[in-house]
Amino acid sequence: MLHPITTTHYLVLGAALLAIGTIGVLARRNIVVILMAIELILNAVNINLIAFSHHLGQVHGQVFAIFVITVAVAEAAVGLGILIALFRTRSTVQADEINLLKW
């Protein structure tokens, strides 16, 4: 079981990272940390992609992963931009304190 390392190992690792990221998104109140948790989820995706790519002997998965990273960058940039605008008007970054609209 422990040896040799197979694609399944990576898959389980990815799933675990996905779960941790999900917990982070749903349970944390700090928006910056939630954004970080989303990065974790996208990394779980990348682990999957790379593992499959290796398993299949092609690089399509790696290319997919590049796009995922691009998307992660874009989301983080926009998210942090909005966060700054939000902080200007409201000076809090706690997700559930954004209660002008009900959560």
Partner: protein
């Protein structure tokens, strides 16, 4: 042309190319050519031109398909597929973009946040939608989805000095990015299952497996979660009311119509493509989700006093009806989805347009009381709103009835009598809350005398949506023929 970019590729790409080109042009012109606030109307013209050229491209694609008698053609090595489905949905997106841009001018002036970038973002978002409807490759679909989503995150938060807008934007972004993560996870598993990112390959690979294969199930579940978020199905709907309420009303209109249609295009492509083999697994699941969506959307709408929020919940319930077309799963159902989204575009957009007209200096015009006595103040707006609401409720002879009719027909055809009965029962609930607005407009006394906002664009857009909402209801034949061409199962 080179082997990397053939003429077929070009032909398939023209509409998106136009959208992107004019999107960049709007961004540039805003900066260099038309920097003064009064010159922004030229940007709208530029946008209209871009959409016009894109529409021309679509028409040519449609004519090509018709003249060659083809069902579809692919480009970029199977990355794009141009078929009736894609053209139909792209038509919806273009119409929605144009209408929204037309009414945004005055609205953003009133909000005091009028910037040329807005029009660029509309075009870029539309460009993303183009790939959601035409893409048949996981990577293209994912990037297209994100392009659309990112433009929407920004547009939702466009009123930077308004707290509600900021909060709506951050909520929408957090949950949107989260759902994209799940969707990407599902996509990565599909890739692993098929060794390819093309939908056709994945369909073949998944069809060769038993429906309860654990990996297939995991891929289906995570993809479904991501997609359900995007189209705001219960239990993944909680972002929608907040984002809808906080966003600028023009963006809310755009979001509720175009983004939903695009996401449904993706959902239909995925569920009837790669996941078609696991139908036995997802069909009861989707049925449950649809019923839950109808329940939550309709019951939550009943108590709302903010009209934007009310329409947000109603839009959730409409997503439930549309999903029922997929649950039925027969050609009628798929055609029903197309018809429903077409009709929904005009009627929902129209309802939001009236709200946009209600937004004036100093007056938000979003609460139920703000609509009081609208019949005295502006009979035209009140009657148009009545038509839109009747259509949303699904009462003939408005277009909404034709849409609901298809869904019921599909369910009866599929033998899903109970689902049909539940869906029918919720029509009555929907009437109840739509008629709260009607009551406010026609029965209640006038609350304020400030005249409604008006502009050429607003009047034009209201006229177009109103006429189409009635016309599709009274004379639906040409529109049904259009939708017929979009059916994937033939």
């Amino acid at each position: 042309m080179s082997q990397f970019y053939t003429s077929v590729d070009h032909f398939a790409l023209v509409p998106a190319l136009m959208l992107a080109l004019f999107g960049c042009a709007v961004l540039l012109f805003d900066f260099f050519v038309f920097p003064a606030p009064r010159q922004r109307k030229w940007l709208v013209l530029l946008l209209a031109l871009g959409i016009g050229f894109a529409a021309l491209g679509l028409v040519r694609q449609y004519a090509f398909l018709k003249s060659e008698g083809l069902a579809e053609f692919t480009a970029f090595r199977g990355t794009l597929t141009i078929d009736g489905f894609a053209i139909f949905f792209n038509g919806i997106f273009l119409a929605a973009s144009l209408l929204v841009a037309l009414v945004s001018y005055r609205y953003l002036e009133i909000e005091g946040e009028h910037h040329g970038e807005y029009y660029g973002l509309i075009l870029l978002a539309n460009c993303g939608m183009y790939f959601l409807a035409t893409g048949t490759d996981l990577v293209t679909l994912f990037v297209g989805l994100e392009l659309m989503a990112i433009c929407f995150y920004i547009m939702v938060g466009f009123l930077r000095l308004d707290r509600r807008s900021n909060e709506a934007a951050i909520k929408y972004l957090l949950l949107g990015a989260f759902s994209s993560g799940f969707l990407a996870y599902g996509f990565s598993l599909m890739y692993g299952l098929a060794g390819s990112t093309r939908l056709a390959d994945i369909t073949a690979a998944l069809a060769a497996r038993p429906p309860w294969d654990p990996l297939v199930f995991l891929a289906m579940a995570t993809t479904a979660v991501g997609l359900f978020f995007k189209v705001s199905l219960v239990p993944f709907h909680m972002w929608a009311p907040d984002a809808y309420e906080g966003a600028p009303t023009t963006v809310t209109a755009y979001l509720s119509v175009a983004s939903k249609a695009a996401s449904f295009a993706l959902l239909v492509r995925i569920f009837l493509g790669p996941l078609a083999g696991t139908r036995a697994v997802w069909q009861p699941l989707l049925a449950a989700v649809a019923v839950a969506t109808l329940t939550v959307g309709n019951l939550a709408a009943v108590t709302q006093t903010n009209v934007k929020r009310l329409l947000a919940y109603s839009s959730i319930s409409h997503a439930g009806y549309i999903l029922l077309g997929l649950v039925a799963g027969n050609p009628t159902g798929i055609k029903g989805i197309a018809v429903y989204l077409l009709v929904y575009t005009f009627m929902n957009l129209g309802a939001f347009l009236v709200l946009i007209a209600l937004r004036r200096q100093q007056i938000l015009g979003e609460e139920l009381d703000d609509l009081s006595g609208l019949m005295h103040k502006s009979p035209a707006h009140a009657i148009l709103m009545l038509i839109f609401l009747l259509s949303l409720a699904g009462i003939p002879p408005t277009a909404g009835f034709i849409a609901k009719y298809y869904i019921f027909w599909a369910l009866i055809q599929a033998g899903q009598y109970w689902l049909a009965a539940i869906a029918a029962a919720y029509v009555a609930v929907a009437v109840y809350y739509y008629f709260r607005i009607v009551r406010s407009m026609f029965v209640s006394e006038l609350s304020e005398r400030e005249p409604l906002a008006s502009s050429f664009g607003l009047r034009l857009a209201l006229g177009v949506t109103g006429v189409l909402t009635l016309a599709i209801g009274v004379h639906p034949e040409p529109w049904l023929e259009l939708a017929q061409n979009s059916v994937l199962l033939r």
